[in-house]
Amino acid sequence: MKEIITLSPGFSFSYSGRENYIIQIPKESEPMTIEYGKIYGIQGPNGSGKTTLLNVLNGFLRPTEGYITYYNTKTFNISKRSFKENVTVIKVANFLDGVRRLFQVPILADDISVLDSMLLVKRNKLDERFWNSFNPQKLILRLINRAKESDTEEAKALLKEFNFNDPSVSNSTLSYGQRRLITVLQMIFSDATLLLMDEPFANIHDDYVKKIKILLKLYIKGRNRSIVIIEHDNNNMKDFVDIIWTLIDTNITVKENG
């Protein structure tokens, strides 16, 4: 099974319901897929629905016609929604656990440290059980044997590479560019199956962009992972992306890079 997500032929989305389609895939064309180990780039003029497409892939929006399949499980089929399909929606929620999304505007909680916001991405479900917060013993034990320290060290090393020398500093002290950088680093640090990134290289220094590209290539290499990015800069597209989706006049055209 190579496909993570498939958009069916005849897939379309519009905010108003029927007409005014923002995204459309012609009925006679091939289904659009996201496969493991590949990097996808979305390009198109401003207002052509790039972010909307990302929202659809993220499960925030439902298609107006057609359907999306996650791991070959059909979901969100508006025209024939049955009890069975509602069940698969729940499965999709589980799947979406493995998706990380980079928003255009960096969203960071102001009252936690840089290191904490990195650790937030690689979450340990057991640690986050609410009942654990009643149990100081467990916390003390964890502080003593430092079992989870590998994550922390890894995050610190990654931050150091991008000149965040003091990881315990609060997010509120960062500039806009640094905030963007942190949100991109969160993506790299995560262990998600699919990264959806809205303009990852905007507002970031060129040297860092090179490093980030290498790290993202490493992120998917040999693993069951893939990346979708929106990018305006054609140079970034050329040397980084495997498959280009071009959005013009609501239609999506798929093209291999190179």
Partner: protein
């Protein structure tokens, strides 16, 4: 001596309530729960109902420590489910309305002057014993909140407060987390209400009105949101100001003491928002 004992007991009980409001409810979930006082009231009134209406015996009255938190957590659950629809001021409104409805319902059950003559439970008949139980509970609450602040959960709530959408895209179940923190803080608030009812052996509706809700809410902003030190200082301040106003106007009229208190705290709330949005010890702005 008796005066100091009563002031200290009130201070401890109000600290517990303020910590549940300030450090758990507002501090973690980020919702402006002005009506949080209804959980305090539920604790007190349920104790009154069990003791005065159903005549529970001195040992059976311990059941109130289960029943009152249960009722308040049901209401907290309903309230927290509404957060999936209501944001900001809408939530504030619903929270206030629920507090008002609880108040009216309690007036319907207990009459306009509230319950009086609540039995203290066996083993807790003296003021000192109630004070010591309150202190134990107070210390446990503080330890728990401090523990929570170091826990990985803290950063999850932090992100959720900043942006629910972002939190959802990180795979965080926002609604479930809200339900948990609402129920937890309501349970702590209702236990402080039970202690208050046992201490004062009555439920004076004056102490649970909307005015009082605003005063306590203003106090948590003055002390600084999500600051334990702030909550404790605010509780001391509250107990002292109420004591002073009560003794100043004790002969004149009941209205003056409560109304001047709410006037003062209302003004302090506005001025604090304008000139000191961090509060005394808080790091977070309103």
């Amino acid at each position: 001596m008796e005066l100091i004992l009563s002031l200290v007991t009130k201070f401890i009980i109000y600290s517990i309530f303020l910590i549940s409001l300030n450090n758990l409810m507002i501090g973690k979930s980020g919702y402006w729960a002005i009506g949080h006082i209804c959980f305090f009231y539920i604790g007190a009134v349920v104790t009154g109902i069990l003791s005065v209406i159903y005549h529970f015996s001195a040992s059976l009255i311990y059941l109130t420590f289960f029943i009152a938190p249960l009722i308040s957590s049901v209401i907290a659950f309903l309230l927290s489910v509404s957060t999936s629809r209501l944001k900001g001021d809408f939530f504030m409104f619903i929270s206030i309305s629920i507090a008002i409805l609880c108040n009216v319902a309690a007036e319907y059950i207990a009459g306009p002057s509230g319950f009086s003559g609540i039995n203290r439970p066996a083993g807790l008949t003296s003021d000192i014993s109630i004070l010591s139980v309150s202190i134990v509970f107070f210390i446990l609450t503080i330890i728990y909140v401090k523990n929570f602040n170091r826990h990985p959960l803290n950063r999850i709530y932090s992100l959720t407060r900043t942006s629910e959408k972002s939190a959802m895209s990180f795979g965080i179940n926002v609604l479930r987390n809200n339900v948990k923190i609402f129920i937890l803080s309501s349970i702590i608030a209702s236990i402080s209400g039970i202690l208050f009812a046992f201490y004062s052996t009555g439920t004076d509706p004056q102490r649970f009105s909307l005015n009082e809700a605003v005063i306590l809410f203003a106090l948590s902003i003055i002390g600084g949101i999500d600051s334990i030190k702030g909550s404790i200082i605010a509780a001391i301040f509250y107990v002292l100001v109420i004591y002073l106003l009560d003794s100043l106007f004790s002969g004149v009229s009941d209205i003056y003491a409560t109304k001047i208190a709410s006037l003062v705290f209302g003004l302090i709330l506005i001025l604090a928002i304008k000139y000191k949005p961090n509060g005394l010890f808080g790091k977070r702005k309103i």
